[in-house]
Amino acid sequence: MSSWYFCSNEIVNSPSRSDGIEITAECRYRREGARFIMDVGNRMNLRYETVATGIVFYHRFYMMHSFKTINRLIGAAACLYLAGKAEETPKKCRDLVKAVRTILSERQMEAFGDDPKEEIISHERLLLQTIKFDLCVQHPYKYIVKFAKNLKDDRAQIEKVVQMAWNFVNDSLSTTLCLQWKPQVVAVSLLHLAAKLSKYNLSAAPDGPHYDHSKSWWQHFLPEINSDVLEDICLQMLDFYDKTDVGASNYNMISPPKITMKVPQSIPYRTL
């Protein structure tokens, strides 16, 4: 099976780059595409896993195609459409088009041609073949919860850290982190970031008599990950916040609300 993880060099030299698109523009297209998928997904009441899967498809898709050859709004719509099926939350293409219409302007809808439904469906085929029918996508969310359950700190404090890390994961979907690191690694890094910003020291729960106190907390979950990786991921996130005016307009038109995906109520966290 092919790997969906790339080194920073590959990400910088994407198909869009060979097509003459500047890296800053590509980053913006990725961010806006991700936001667009979130907005349409929220409007259709899709679960956060479905939305996140759609965004991961989107990032993978544009590692194989240039933003010049394939319109990013159509690409994004096709990604969300396929994610609906892949996550067992299928939506009718007609309803997707309806939701897209409520978000985009008349002029932006022109990209979808005379038959937007057909346009999305034919792009779904292209997407499927581009992502090699790899439909199983994992996200950092569940690892945040899983790791947090094994931490031995003050519950209220951890809950705060988890909520913050969860929001970081939402925002990380606008970056290329999902193309660089496995979801487990992103999860520990963003927990680390959230803890740091909360000025809180995390420590893993002792597991058995062989608990090694010399290890960092995350190494109890991912022994092979060193702090350089964590720092790099945290820096990428901070860099993203630095460069992005989160409230600013996207895909030129509307101002979406701050990302609203919250830790779901049913999160096993409360039952600890």
Binding site: M64, K85, C136
Partner: protein, 362 residues
């Protein structure tokens, strides 16, 4: 708008395989035997029908792909890769997608319909063990097959059984308390009573019912309950397994269709009695009986079935199946159906219409 303006360097063209012959057709496309032009290795190509799909790529095929990619087991058919064929511009065809599977020489239905193929008890044990191991594996991975039948069980030349055709399969989770699945699954003859009665919140037990039906076929050589309608199927079940009442199946009266069917009352359960003409081994009889339990909550599961005395008493499961290595032709139900004029497996041609007696059921 039919267009293919892009290159698809991402998945291979199906032209790398040479099609040899059609070996089957499912609900979602045809199946061909083919050979890799370079490695000369045989494969089965399953074409996903596309083109008239109002909702794009069929979700059922996506499920099949997603599930098969995640499942790796000796007794599950292996998905090797996915290929494409180019559409032809003049016919406005969009091209097809092919699932490429390891090739298996036979399917169980084809083998059982051939009188020259004989299995002894220890060979049957081996084959049932394979079936149940595959099923235990998929159930542990929270997947329901939902279309188990002899024709969907493939058999390699080395006598390894593999569950195939996950076109109706889907993931279920134990966390969610109630499911709302479609009950229009499983070929009629293998359909569990709860499905026939309209249950939508079913589980792995529906696959175990089908396993019971398949297991009996090792001796009877054709499907044991060949209903021609849902009512008729329920009648056949009642005649074999006894009346379906809240006494044997609590809460059955809460199922949508329970009151709609006027099912025979006060029928005795006769699974062992009626199958004993075919199945001499008492452990085998007992295992079939436990699979064909009316109440899905009491039906044996794949784990307990693998621990059943059937597999742990003499003769033990065989290490090979001798007659298969002597077979030079592939036995597929599809090919047999084409050759004979008396297909026993097509529900619509069944002779069983509303026969009150049960002697003809087998």
């Amino acid at each position: 708008m039919s267009k293919e303006p892009y290159n698809y360097p991402f998945i291979h063209d199906v032209g790398k395989y040479e099609k040899i012959t059609k070996i089957g057709h499912g609900t979602f496309g045809e199946v061909f035997k083919a050979r890799n032009r370079i490695s000369k290795e045989f494969v089965a190509l399953k074409r996903v029908l596309l083109g008239n799909e109002k909702e794009g790529f069929p979700i059922t095929s996506l499920r099949e792909i997603k599930i098969l990619r995640a499942l790796k087991h000796d007794n599950i058919v292996r998905l090797q890769e996915i290929c494409r064929s180019k559409g032809t511009p003049q016919s406005r065809k969009r091209g097809s997608i092919y699932l490429v599977f390891e090739f298996c020489a036979h399917d169980l239905a084809g083998l059982l319909q051939n009188p020259q193929v004989k299995f002894n008890l220890s060979e049957i044990k081996r084959m049932m063990k394979h079936l149940l191991s595959g099923l235990f594996y998929i159930h542990s991975n929270k997947v329901l097959h939902r279309d188990l039948k002899a024709a969907n069980v493939l058999v390699t030349r080395d006598g390894v059984l593999k569950l195939a055709d996950f076109g109706l399969a889907r993931v279920y989770s134990r966390k969610e308390k109630t499911h709302c699945f479609t009950n229009r699954v499983v070929t009629l003859w293998y359909r569990a009573p709860e499905l026939l009665l309209g249950c939508r919140d079913y589980g792995p037990a529906i696959d175990m019912w089908a396993i019971g039906c398949i297991m009996a076929e090792f001796w009877t050589r054709s499907a044991i309950m060949q209903g021609n309608s849902e009512t008729n199927q329920l009648t056949l079940i009642t005649q074999l397994c006894g009346s379906i009442t809240p006494e044997v199946y609590p809460d059955v009266d809460k199922l949508d269709l329970f009151k709609k069917f006027d099912l025979p009352a006060s029928q005795k359960r006769r699974v062992k009695e009626r199958l004993s003409h075919y199945v001499r081994d008492r452990h085998a009889l007992d295992l079939i009986d436990r699979c064909l339990t009316i109440d899905p909550a009491k039906r044996i599961d794949s784990d307990s079935a693998l621990n059943h005395d059937f597999f742990w008493s003499d003769p033990l499961p065989a290490s090979k199946i001798s007659c298969l290595s002597r077979l030079n032709v592939s036995m597929f139900e599809f090919l047999i159906d084409r050759k004979t004029t008396n297909p026993q497996h097509r529900p619509e041609q069944s002779q069983m219409s509303q026969q009150p007696g049960y002697d003809r059921v087998f």
